[in-house]
């Protein structure tokens, strides 16, 4: 397959390639992203390849082989790509084929041919085979041969890893149009919905994946996204939630079968426990109770048990709390306050777990909207967020030449000055001490920017003063009245864990007026008139402001020269 496709002949899809699961999506003619189901009917395809007497199994079929044929089953390999053996963490592969060092990369010793002989297959070869299967599934579904894709990667994917992935994709016949960051793809998936409104907001994408958690704080300003902070954790993961269930069921089993021993010490029994626990975890996201049933778990003993959701939530409280702390930590890292966060998008397969979302809602103020299936009925399936974003991006850029895409994603274009303070107007009073600042352009907005605002005027009309100023966000903390608000928390343990202080503080987001930028006057306004203010801020920090009465003629225009070198508090 040639590296460069003619843009007109491109069939582009979005691929989300995760450690545990991968998915593929395309954008239909109406501009809606649709996730493609593979031959097994799965939309989340396990990133697992298994070899049984030379036959390659993929996805769910391969996952089932983790019990019977773990040594020839390759799983959880995404993070190894483009890494040296000494820098990888092989622990997720404990129950599948073990990674081995090979030259400067990682490989697996597996029997991938009918012969009784182990072959060394490099990580890039495995990735190529995996991507090839994904590509075939997409091609079968679309009826057209897919030849290019946008692939999502974690924000901390290095250039070497991207390069390795690019190479593996090329081997699989896929031209990578662009790598995009998973959290940004998730935000894009929400923003690309037809009913989505463009707003300036701070979004936290909390991705609780199978082997790792990634938190990203993103400033979304008029549809342009800037990563403010990221946080990665390899300890807090979906596996931990599985582990909780594994431990629970193992103990239950031992209680019932005293002589049988610990199923966790038997490799096969552990694999069965693990698979079933994951299934139970998924079932508990939908129903309030789930049945655990494994035939011949250990020594030929069948085991069945049931668990309800509250017990599971109780068992997993530590892990979920750790996840909530991670999110809070990431917000702190971005030098923001929880009040600044307008949305938390919970992504990743474990976002289905209702407790994860409710714990986040409890930890963040009410103004923060937590978007997860359990809190918002219109939420997009959190497992499909990244891939939908990738598919949308693919449809946006597929008609461009590769060179064009490269130039547009070059640091020359992407590195942009961002406002360090919000710019807005003073309302009610022109005095700095009395006036109330209202932002027009928020902090962290990439420049150049153009925004307009419509502002009310005094009832009687007349002459008004328009003062443009910089504003700093300020968190006002007030001690509450003796009688604190009754929390709706039903879980005693939960409130004990989080809030030990008896009196809660009330925190409010306010603005402090900073530097005054300009003053302008509009004279002779009619009664009930409104004033339109348009602010253009250039990349050189010059401000071009236009003030006029809505529906009126004329207006005032003013220019502030950009002064590089004036050091603010940035």
């Amino acid at each position: 397959m040639s590296a460069q496709q003619n843009p007109a002949q491109r069939v582009a899809i979005g691929i989300s390639f995760g450690n545990s699961y991968s998915s593929i999506a395309f954008t239909s003619g109406e501009g809606r992203a649709e996730v493609i189901a593979n031959e097994d009917g799965d939309r989340q395809i396990p990133s697992i390849l298994s070899y049984v007497s030379g036959e390659e199994l993929h996805g769910t079929q391969a996952k089932a082989q983790l019990v019977r044929n773990p040594r020839n089953t390759v799983a959880y390999f995404r993070d190894f790509l483009g890494q040296e053996f000494k820098s990888i963490d092989p622990s997720p592969c404990h129950q599948s084929a073990h990674p081995v060092p090979q030259e400067s990369t990682v490989a697996f010793n597996i029997r991938d041919t009918p012969e009784e002989k182990e072959n060394t297959v490099t990580i890039s070869e495995i990735t190529t085979r995996h991507l090839k299967r994904l590509r075939n599934s997409a091609s079968d579904y679309l009826g057209k041969s897919v030849n290019s894709a946008v692939i999502t990667v974690p924000t901390n994917f290095s250039d070497a890893q991207k390069e390795a992935l690019n190479k593996a994709a090329k081997e699989a016949g896929i031209e990578v149009l662009q790598f995009i960051n998973e959290p940004v793809a998730a935000v894009l998936a929400y923003d690309a919905r037809p009913d989505a409104k463009l707003a300036d907001k701070i979004v936290v994408v909390a991705d609780l994946g199978g082997t790792r958690s990634d938190i990203a704080v993103i400033a979304s300003r008029g549809g342009i996204y800037t990563l403010l902070a990221t946080h990665h954790d390899y300890e807090v993961s979906g596996f931990q939630l599985d582990q909780v269930l594994i431990d629970y069921f193992a103990k239950e089993f031992m209680k019932k079968n005293k002589s049988a021993g610990d199923p966790r010490e038997n490799e096969r029994a552990l694999a069965k426990l693990k698979l079933e626990s994951e299934a139970v975890k998924k079932a508990l996201s939908i129903g309030t109770s789930a049945a655990f049933s494994v035939e011949s778990l250990l020594n030929g003993i069948d085991f069945t048990a049931t668990i309800n959701r509250s017990r599971y939530e109780l068992l997993a409280i530590k892990q979920i709390a750790a996840f909530t702390r991670l999110v809070a930590h990431a917000v702190e890292k971005a030098q923001l306050d929880p009040l600044d966060v307008s949305e938390i998008i919970v992504a990743g397969g474990n976002a289905h777990t209702p407790k994860v979302a409710s714990a986040l809602s409890a930890a963040f103020p009410e103004t923060t909207k937590v978007i997860a299936p359990s809190t918002s009925p219109t939420a997009i399936n959190p497992s499909e967020l990244a891939v939908r974003g990738a598919a949308i991006q693919a449809s946006l850029i597929q008609e461009f030449e590769l060179e064009d895409i490269e130039q547009s994603t070059h640091p020359m274009v992407t590195v942009t000055p961002h406002l360090s303070h919000a710019v807005g107007v003073l309302c009610i009073s022109g005095e700095e001490s009395h006036g109330i600042f209202h932002p027009i352009v928020d902090a962290e907005t990439p420049l150049p920017v153009r925004r307009s605002a419509i502002i009310a005027t005094p009832k009687e009309g007349g002459d008004v003063l328009i003062k443009l100023a910089e504003g700093a966000r300020h968190i006002k903390v007030t001690k509450p009245e003796p009688k604190p608000k009754e929390e709706k928390e039903k879980d005693e343990d939960d409130s004990d864990e989080d809030e030990d202080e008896s009196e809660e503080e009330i925190r409010e987001k306010t603005w402090k007026v900073g530097k005054i930028l300009s003053e302008a006057a509009l004279r002779g306004l009619q009664k009930g008139a409104k004033v339109e203010v348009q602010v253009n801020i250039g990349a050189d920090l010059s401000v071009n402001a236009i003030f006029r009465e809505v529906g009126g003629k004329g207006g005032v225009r003013g220019i502030l020269q950009g002064q590089k070198g004036v050091n603010g508090s940035a």
Binding site: G222, G223, T416, S420
Partner: protein, 444 residues
């Protein structure tokens, strides 16, 4: 981006506030932070476009808007821009068989290339323009002939089967093959390319190979001509059929016309095949590439032949040389053999002579020994037996033994000695088994 709505009222202008043009610049913005924005989403694309082309917001808005608007206009303007021929407007609907449906709809520059969508839109435009109601409003009552032409044209062109039948006989879409002179003037590929492009519309097999240009490879050219010599055409000539009378009264007449039509179609098809064949023949005969390839091939062949000949010559020379060499060696060998033979003959002769001489000596020695008969004259019988025995011995001896015997006998005159020598010899011969007991009695 939505505008920010601020409900709080603006402050009243304080007394005595004044500024140049009602504006006072006071401060400037704080230093900005450089950050990477994520290259994702439609708004980033707009940002990248502005940044790369160094446009401001309003410029970009304007250019984008213009680009979008222009596209719509182009689409609309396309089909109707053809001026209508006044003669065409006067056509009668009953002559629809001879009308140019594409021209009626204003699609004569698209013809068989017109898409269904184009036809539909062109039809709609024409209907809007020539609707009888509009004519009636303009005072031309009952003039719906051209409208009927339009309807008929749409009926034919929007039905895939009828459209094919019409396209089959649409001579206006044909491109006349250039004359010999024209094609030799230099634009052979351009002129003939157009001809084949137009003929290609009848092909069942798509895509049709292109004529190419002077740089086409031999395989390409061969593929082209092979394709056209085995052309698979969907062209039919039903459209030119004579009307079949549909009255039920005269069956024979009906069948006769049908048969006539069938024959006419077949004949036209054959003619068309022949025409195409001739066309390809003409093109082939004028195609300089064929000559070029032939020349190249000939040159190649010549080269190969000369190489082969040179090789053969070299081989022949080598063979001749080898043969000569062999002959020389043979001659030498023969000469040597001859010499050797002559030598051996001489030696033999000498040996013979020597043997003769030796025999003579031996016989003389016998005589010397008085025929082994003690003293006195030997009787005749004794002489005979002695001589016979000695002859026997001589025959049994080879030349060398004879020579040694001779050597022993030479100079011996004593009868006893000679006898002893003979007896020893006989003994030796007996020992060697050359003589049998009882032979050479006289000497034992």
């Amino acid at each position: 981006m939505d505008t920010v709505q601020i409900a709080l009222p603006l402050p009243v202008l304080p007394e005595g506030w004044a500024g140049e043009k009602d504006f006072k610049a006071i401060g400037s913005l704080s230093q900005a932070t450089d950050r990477n924005i994520e290259p994702v989403g439609p708004h980033f694309l707009a940002h990248a476009r502005r940044k790369r082309h160094k446009r401001t917001f309003s410029e970009d808005d304007r250019i984008q808007a213009q680009a979008n608007v222009k596209k719509v206009e182009d689409d609309d303007a396309g089909e109707i821009s053809e001026p209508e021929d006044p003669l065409l407007l006067q056509r009668e609907a009953k002559d629809w068989k001879t009308q140019d449906h594409y021209a009626v709809l204003g699609l004569s520059r698209y013809r068989y290339k017109a898409t269904e969508d184009q036809i539909k839109r062109a039809h709609r435009k024409k209907v809007l323009k020539h609707h009888p109601d509009k004519k009636a409003a303009a005072g031309q009552a009952q003039d719906d002939q051209f409208f009927k032409c339009i309807q008929k044209a749409a009926e034919v062109l929007l039905d895939p089967v009828k459209r094919r039948q019409f396209d089959s006989v649409d001579e206006a879409a044909d491109v006349e093959p250039p004359t010999k002179k024209e094609s030799q003037k230099g634009n052979f590929y351009k002129l003939w390319g157009k001809v084949f492009e137009s003929e290609a519309r009848f092909s069942n097999k798509q895509p049709v190979p292109k004529l190419g240009n002077e740089n086409s490879t031999k395989a390409e050219v061969e593929e082209f001509y092979n394709f056209w010599y085995n052309f698979d055409s969907w062209r039919t000539f039903e459209y030119l059929d004579e009307d079949v009378p549909d009255d039920n009264e005269n069956r024979d007449q009906k069948r006769h016309v049908e048969r006539k039509n069938q024959n006419a179609r077949r004949k036209k098809k054959t003619e068309d095949t022949a025409r195409l064949r001739k066309l390809v023949d003409d093109c082939l005969s004028l195609d300089v590439r064929i000559k070029k390839f032939q020349q190249e091939e000939r040159a190649q062949k010549n080269k190969r032949r000369t190489e082969k000949e040179a090789e053969q010559k070299r081989l022949a020379e080598e063979a001749a040389k080898k043969k000569e060499e062999e002959a020389r060696i043979q001659a030498e060998k023969e000469a040597a053999e001859k010499a050797a033979k002559a030598d051996s003959k001489k030696a033999k002769e000498a040996a013979k002579n020597a043997a003769k001489k030796n025999k003579r000596v031996v016989r003389a020695a016998v005589k010397e020994a008085n025929y082994f008969h003690g003293a006195g004259d030997a009787p005749a019988a004794q002489i005979d037996s002695a001589l016979n025995d000695v002859d026997l011995i001589i025959t049994k001896l080879d030349n060398e033994e004879l020579a040694t015997l001779t050597g022993k006998l030479n100079g011996k005159t004593d009868a006893g000695e000679i006898t002893t020598i003979f007896q020893e010899e006989v003994k030796r011969l007996l020992g060697a088994g050359k003589l049998k007991d009882g032979e050479a009695k006289s000497l034992s």
